[in-house]
């Protein structure tokens, strides 16, 4: 540090370079290190913080008379503002969330993974670049725009081709969510396939494998963790998506019997009703409890995925 004020002559030799840095630069670097550490830990702090505050708003309702946890989870009677008898059952919305997300994944996973394989293995040069840009554009469309497409364009098409009485239903929501999660699955899936070392490909080709054998027997097993992560991020997007499903699913409290039935999802219900619920009321707390439920659901999905990946690794 003594050298910060005065530059010593070159004859001073090798002792100099390290200490030549001004004090504030050294300090700045330290500060940056601390900052980066904080960024790393912030994720944990945020997750715990969110869970804490959501739970804090939700849990007082658990002991209240007239509220039963079993009714909350296993009843489809959702009458939060009833003047006769208030009932808080979210079963229909759980069914709604699962049916829409499930359908979306059935459509999005094959398309997404197929596109990822095509992009990374079968397509080269300019075409790949163009496709990637277009797919990234698809990911950049705001969800409210998707919802609008669902409400206006898609609902008419569904009525026309399926004969459903109403176009806003599980099918509509599922298609919209699939379109929204495909870009995520494609870009993460493609990265996962790209991360497989080229030596694997060279080895397979050298052994006389066809392209199909290469993909099926070498690349997919080698990239499975990344591909699973891609699919799960797509699922997470589906479970958490609010605006688009609010507009496209019809928002009806109803356990669906077919994909042409209207449903309401957990997220859409919170979005539509939290604004009116006066802070501290039972309705308000039950909506926060729905938030805790969503949190638990996504946590369970992530945990299962983690366990599956570990299981695969051990084999």
């Amino acid at each position: 540090m003594n050298a910060t004020t005065k530059i010593e002559p070159a004859t001073a030799g090798l002792r100099v370079p390290r200490s030549r840095r001004p004090a504030w630069a050294v300090f700045g670097e330290r500060a940056f290190e601390v900052l980066i550490h904080l960024c790393g830990f912030s994720a944990i702090i945020f997750v715990l913080g969110i869970f804490f505050f959501v739970s804090k708003e939700a849990f007082p309702v658990l002991g209240k008379a007239g509220f039963h946890l079993s009714q909350f989870l296993f009843s489809d009677q959702w009458y939060p503002t009833s003047e006769v008898q208030k009932r808080y059952g979210v079963l229909a919305m759980i069914a709604g969330t699962f049916s829409v997300t499930g359908l979306a994944m059935v459509i999005a996973v094959p398309f997404g993974l197929g596109a990822a394989i095509y992009l990374s293995e079968f397509c080269g040069g300019k075409r790949r670049e163009t496709l990637k840009i277009v797919i990234e554009l698809l990911a950049a469309i705001p969800s409210v725009v998707w919802g609008f497409i669902g409400l206006t364009v898609m609902s008419r098409l569904i009525v026309k081709f399926t004969g459903a009485p109403v176009g806003v239903n599980v099918l509509n929501g599922g298609l919209i969510l699939a379109l929204m999660s495909v870009p995520i699955i494609v870009s993460i899936g493609e990265d996962a396939l790209k991360a497989v070392p080229d030596s694997f490909r060279e080895a397979a080709i050298a052994l006389g494998a066809t392209r199909w054998q290469l993909v099926w027997r070498v690349l997919l097993p080698a990239a499975r963790n990344g591909l699973l992560a891609a699919v799960l991020l797509g699922v997470a997007r589906g479970v958490g998506e609010t605006m688009a499903v609010l507009m496209a699913t019809g928002h009806a409290v109803h356990i669906p019997h077919s994909i042409l039935d209207s449903v309401r999802t957990l997220t859409a219900n919170i979005a539509a009703e939290l604004g009116e619920a006066s802070a501290g009321s039972d309705h308000y707390r039950v909506l926060f409890l729905t938030g805790v439920l969503l949190f638990a659901l996504t946590f369970a999905v992530n945990l299962t995925a983690d366990l599956i990946i570990r299981g695969i690794r051990k084999k």
């Binding site: 840095r21 009677q77 009485p165 109403v166 009806a252 409290v253 209207s262 009116e276």
Partner: protein, 311 residues
């Protein structure tokens, strides 16, 4: 090393810029919050929120008022009567629009939170219209039939229950289009048609008056309810009668003012305490001929001449 120092200096300036912006933001934020519509002579902002039935009307007022009083900015948002009233109770807005009356417990809460009594001002009327697709052969409906369609345990679920055969479709089931529970329109129907009983589950609950009409327009088997101001050529408004033996009335201006149409209602705004300053000027303008002309232009029923404010 050189690059590092340059990087730092950029960061330094960025940090100071951010600090500056932060301060500016805080200052303007404070300014707006403290103003509260009480009358900054140069530039006043009035926060207006609530009923989705009235959101088009409120926006038209705000635009028209800009011409009358260029210094006043009226910020309008919808969300539903319940949302507007909840915001008024919290004291975050100046005027709440509502297509239903404030409930006693909401008034209590507003008093407790803000120390002021909410003041109700009727600004116009609306006939709650029952919409069906324009090809639907049904023309009239009784209040009891509406109730049986919408109420929990109601007996009417099919169009044939109403004696109607829909053209161009084999579907017979009535698709009920409703509103989400923070809607004043929803509460109005529940109170005045369903006798405070609950709605049948499984209705499509739209989060806007306009969406109700749009969905009814695109669904031949649908029935829906919404403000009369949202009528379009693609839908039909049913004539409503009190009981089967009463005459049926069309939802229009004359029938609403004469109270012949059975489900007419008042549209109101709420302020905390007596309106003052810019807010008072705005509400006075709404109650004047100029403001009432806007009510008529957006498809609602203006106040009769005797109830208007004289300029």
């Amino acid at each position: 090393m050189k690059r590092f120092t340059r990087y730092s200096s950029i960061l330094n300036s960025a940090a100071s810029l951010a600090a500056l912006l932060g301060t500016a933001w805080a200052l303007t934020g404070c300014h707006q919050g403290g103003n509260g519509g009480s009358g900054d002579a140069q530039k006043a902002t009035i926060q207006n929120k609530g009923s989705d039935t009235m959101v088009n009307l409120a926006q038209a007022w705000a635009e028209e008022y800009k011409k009358a009083a260029p210094g006043v900015e009226v910020e309008v948002s919808g969300g539903g009567s319940g949302v507007g009233i909840a915001a008024l109770v919290k004291g975050t807005i100046d005027i709440a629009n509502a297509s239903r009356n404030m409930k006693p417990d909401e008034i209590e809460q507003a008093k407790k939170n803000t120390g002021k009594e909410p003041k109700e001002i009727i600004v116009g009327y609306d006939a709650l219209a029952i919409y069906v697709s324009k090809d639907n052969p049904l023309n009239e409906i009784t209040l009891d039939q509406i109730a049986q369609i919408y109420v929990e345990g109601g007996t009417i679920t099919k169009w044939s229950d109403l004696g109607v055969k829909l053209p161009n479709t084999t579907d017979d089931e009535i698709v009920r289009v409703s509103r989400q529970s923070n809607s004043g329109t929803y509460e109005f129907l529940r109170e005045h048609v369903l006798n405070k009983k609950d709605f049948k589950l499984g209705s499509r609950d739209m989060n806007g008056s306009k969406e109700v009409v749009e969905l009814v327009a695109s669904t031949p088997t649908a029935i829906g309810y919404s403000g009369m101001g949202y009528a379009t050529p693609a839908v039909k408004m049913l004539k409503v009668k009190k009981t089967a033996s009463d005459p049926a009335f069309e939802p229009n201006v004359a029938n609403t003012l004469s109270k012949a149409y059975p489900i007419a209602r008042s549209l109101q705004v709420y302020t905390l305490g007596e309106p003052q300053g810019a807010v008072k000027a705005y509400i006075d303008w709404i109650l004047s001929d100029a403001g009432q002309k806007v009510v008529e232009a957006t498809g609602y029923v203006p106040l009769p001449a005797t109830a208007r404010a004289k300029p």
